[in-house]
């Protein structure tokens, strides 16, 4: 079978997603603005993800420290654990793991919610009652995901570092102040800012993919399940691709 016939569904999907994203930008800047729905979605997407993100971040910091310790001890550099964990969490692990957890929780929930609204004709009902469903459902959820993920990443980084502090204290006594001084002293502008900026892109990817999959859901309840599932898979893949691009761009800008 020719290569392009096999790849056609993928190319179609990317084309549709690109059109959907362009429509998002067109609708987002055009009035009317759905501020109250945006605030509501920020609460649903941000606040309600906090406990899951917090728990996973804490465990991540703790386990990372415990796993790293034997190697560091072998080389006699265990004093560098706070610095090393701090850089790893702030630069890479915090944003990526939080974004993946976020994709699992929010991407699937947006996909399923919009998918079920599509198959039960609620989106059509909005349209016939004079509401722009794209603006009300897609723009608000995507913006909320874009704005909330960086906030969750900052909180997740802080909680992870606290987990790491406890991990260090399982084996030795280290004061909280000293731990954080070591972490902060070894963090540069170059470590924190690009990681924070890329989390906006991760949030946007999760929001837009979840909305895209849900908005064009079909084939009844089976389609809703498929939308939720493929929203998570596609958003997770995009997070890794964006991460790869972010590293390249950051390195390029740093060299300039």
């Amino acid at each position: 079978m020719p290569f392009f016939s096999i790849q056609r569904p993928i190319v179609d999907e990317i084309g549709s997603l690109t059109r959907f994203t362009l429509r998002f930008f067109r609708e987002a800047f055009r009035p009317r603005y759905e501020f109250s729905e945006l605030i509501h979605q920020c609460f649903v997407i941000g606040y309600k993800s906090l406990s899951l993100v917090g728990l996973t971040a804490f465990i991540m910091g703790l386990v990372l420290t415990m796993q790293l310790r034997p190697s560091m001890v072998r080389y006699g550099v265990e004093a560098q654990i706070p610095a090393m964990v701090g850089i790893a969490i702030v630069r890479e692990i915090g944003p990526v793991i939080t974004a993946l957890i976020f994709a699992g929780k929010i991407g699937s929930s947006i996909g399923a919610e919009l998918g079920s609204m599509r198959v039960t004709e609620q989106i059509d009902a909005m349209e016939v009652s004079g509401t722009n469903p794209f603006k009300f459902l897609v723009v608000t959820r995507t913006l909320a995901a874009t704005l909330m993920l960086p906030v969750l990443v900052v909180l997740s980084d802080a909680i992870s570092l606290y987990g790491s502090y406890l991990g260090v204290n399982i084996y030795e006594v280290l004061s909280f102040r000293l731990f954080y001084t070591q972490v902060i002293d070894n963090l540069a502008y170059y470590d924190a800012v690009p990681a924070f900026i890329k989390s906006y892109f991760f949030g946007f990817a999760v929001g837009i993919v979840g909305c895209f999959k849900g908005y064009y859901s079909n084939k009844g309840t089976e389609g809703v399940g498929r939308s939720a599932n493929s929203a998570v898979v596609m958003a997770s893949v995009f997070i890794f691709i964006l991460d790869l691009l972010a590293v390249q761009v950051t390195d390029l800008l740093w060299e300039l």
């Binding site: 039960t120 609620q122 059509d124 009902a125 349209e127 004079g130 509401t131």
Partner: protein, 245 residues
């Protein structure tokens, strides 16, 4: 009220999905104040027809004039204005299940280009709930309502913008015979109370007999026959008689 003035005129409407031709040069007129039922088998294209009228589907060819405006040619803003005058009752009711009954009813008023004051919103919600006899459900969620109640609330939501035309998509499907009858009577009452023109699509012969002023039979994508219930019941055409036997 001028009952000879058409509010919807459909000319040579064609719509196909791939090789499946659903509407094939379909013609129809809906007159002011009329209760018109489009009768056809399941899958005959009835839902496609009213989705084309409201602008949810784009026809392949043909013209759909609603209050003199050709729907396929309208811009989004013009379509929005037209939709304020045309209500649509979905077969599945399409109530927003994350909102209470009150929020469902307020939704079209708060988001539409029409600007309605808060006091007026409250009055309209109370009025339409009273019309469908469900004033006590105002703070309930759709999941707490029975099938018939959901249908009534969906009808109330359709009525809240005071449309001049209401399109009903299979309004009695999925309801028990008694509740179905109540909905049919409600459709008639609403038509008299609000002086609306109604276009009902159905294959429910009880509804057709009780509510239809005129019947249009949609067979093979075309307007196969039309007339009053008694005329069509005595028709010699086997395709028409099949519905009445």
């Amino acid at each position: 009220m001028d009952t000879t003035e058409p509010v919807i005129v459909i000319k040579d409407l064609c719509k196909a999905f791939g090789s499946n031709v659903v509407l094939d040069h379909f013609n129809l007129n809906l007159y002011r104040g009329e209760n018109l039922v489009v009768l056809g088998k399941s899958g005959s294209g009835k839902s496609v027809l009213i989705k084309c009228i409201i602008g949810l589907l784009r026809p392949d060819s043909g013209e759909i004039f609603v209050f003199g405006q050709n729907v396929p040619e309208l811009s989004y803003a013009e379509l929005d204005q037209m939709r304020a005058r045309v209500g649509f009752l979905f077969q599945s009711n399409a109530l927003y299940d994350s909102m209470t009954v009150r929020e469902n009813l307020e939704f079209p008023l708060r988001r539409h280009w029409l600007h309605v004051e808060q006091k007026e919103v409250e009055n309209l919600v109370a009025e339409v709930l009273e019309s469908v006899g469900l004033a006590h459900t105002i703070d309930m969620m759709p999941a707490e309502l029975s099938g018939g109640m959901r249908k009534r609330i969906a009808l109330a939501r359709t009525l809240i913008l005071k449309p001049a035309i209401i399109l009903y998509d299979e309004p009695t499907t999925g309801l028990d015979p008694i509740t179905g009858m109540e909905i049919i009577d409600l459709i008639r009452d609403i038509q008299q109370q609000y002086k609306t023109s109604s276009l009902v699509i159905s294959h429910d012969m009880k509804l057709v007999k009780r509510a239809a002023g005129r019947i249009v039979m949609l067979i093979d994508g075309k307007c196969h026959a039309q007339g009053a219930y008694s005329e069509l019941k005595n028709s010699g055409d086997p395709k028409v008689r099949a519905f009445f036997d």
